[in-house]
Amino acid sequence: MHNFILEERVFIWSAALLYLVAFIFGFYSLSRSKRYPRIILITLAIVGFSFHTLGLYERGLKTNSCPLGNPFEIIQFITWTSILLYLVIGPAFRMSLLGFFSTGFAASLGILSLLIAKWDHPYQTGPFGINPWIETHASLALFSYGIFATLALTSTMYLVQNYGLKQKRSKGMANLLPSILQLDQMNKRLLFMAVIVFTFAISVGMVKWIVDFGQIQNIKLIFTLTLWLSYLIVLILRIFNYLIGIKFAWVCVILFSASLFTLWPIDASRPTFNENPSQRLP
């Protein structure tokens, strides 16, 4: 029984279900009473985040590395980062409804990755568990993905607010969303932060690539650099006001969706291992 409770998937399931409860409760409150239960949502998110952290920690102990070796772990890390950012950004910048969107995002992707068993396939720990630079590179890169996820959420909030204002809708969640100006400034800051973290992650990865040329798969390199370049171009266009407003928001949402799909070619390029990581002992 004790071992079952310590099983990291139980923690991760608990986290995903708590996020789902928070999202459903938020949706119900918004649609029925037109009120946003901030305290309840943040409490559920904190408890869910604690389970999520424990689950990833357990998985890390078993894989002897930062758990980023298969799509399941990558998605869990991204959703964990997005909830972390909500807990930091939400109260600090008074980003109303960010919790609602973040818990919805974390619950949907988290449960999907838990349900599709083949995403949690075994993999070779290889350099991940040996070289701390690679660990740093991978965790920073995935952390930047988490920031891009939050950026996609705030961009969605921007699009909802903009649509509500243009269509002259005053009911529903539109009144509770942050202002157009606040969301726009937040999007700019998040993109700036994500590009810096992603650039640092890639720089760390490049050092390893130069030292050990054959180790990195070309497909992974191409997809990663394309994504980095795309976000860099978007940031430059945003800074010089060539890409603003709803176009900027749409690009952020589309680019993040596309970045999730790049995880598969990157993962496919990784050598697999005939062992379930959740059953592997350190």
Partner: protein, 344 residues
Amino acid sequence: MQKELLLFATTHRTAPLEIREQFAINSDRIASLYTGLCKIESLEECLVLNTCNRIELYLISLKPEIKRAVENHFCKFHNFKIGHLHKFSFWKSGLDVVNHLFEVSSGIDSQMVGETEIIGQVKSSYKTAAEIASVGPILHRVFQKCFQSTKWVRNNTTIGEGQISIGSVAVDLALRIFGNLTFSRILVIGTGEVGKKTVKALKSRGANSISVSSQTFDNAEKLANEIAGQAIAFEDLPTVISNFDIIICSTASSKIIISSSMIKSTMYRRPNQPMFFIDLAVPRDIETQITNTPNVFLYNLDDLAEIANENLNSRIGEIDRCRQILQERANRLWSSLEYNGIIN
């Protein structure tokens, strides 16, 4: 010979904003509408109630046939096709007219239910008609009773409580766009009462940079002094408009003041800063196509009233109660007019 009480009206309930702005009459032209009406044979008394949401002609006639003559004069005055008029207007007679007037003056029939400005507008219209002696004993009596009933309803029901004004709706929308109004720069074009109230509502939520512009610079200066703002020459608008975040228009101009091309060039200078336009004028001062420009948000009087009324569901029960009270009072007045044999 018995006289008949008639009402010819076009209101926000029967005509959309695009039509109402064609019927808009500024204060300079109201006298010429009266002149034409007074020439109609058998028309004993008349009173024109002219607001941005309604034009109502209260008439005392000796013959019911005057309807055609009134419609002809109205269409000629507005250069409007008579064939289309019936779609956007209606006639009432007898007791129904009294009921309607009582509901209008008490704010029940207003676009923003329960608003209090309408009673001032009814009183002002009555004063104008009295000055030019177009009202006689019947309309005098009907309107005096109307003022008494309105006062009673206002004092004895909760129809006016929790009033959601155009200003408060505009503030909510501004907060959805800018978040904080402390640094928002506001420009008021025109010196209308609704515009002034909207600025005061924005000021109460922290806005402190306010400028006023009017076709008559003296009027702009007067309002600017009143609200601790700054007056701007009307001619400078195209060059200075990009400095403002919230623009409130409430002029009596019959022409467009802010065009789509002006806003396109303005947004080129400030692409990343949203602009919020509030058009309180009828006819409208701002071209509707400006909403096609990104980061530009435009709300007119109908939009604001619709949002305000969405929040007024709690007042629906009170409206029924008011309507019942007003009907009882209208019936009493009508019975007394009939009893004295002065009206049919």
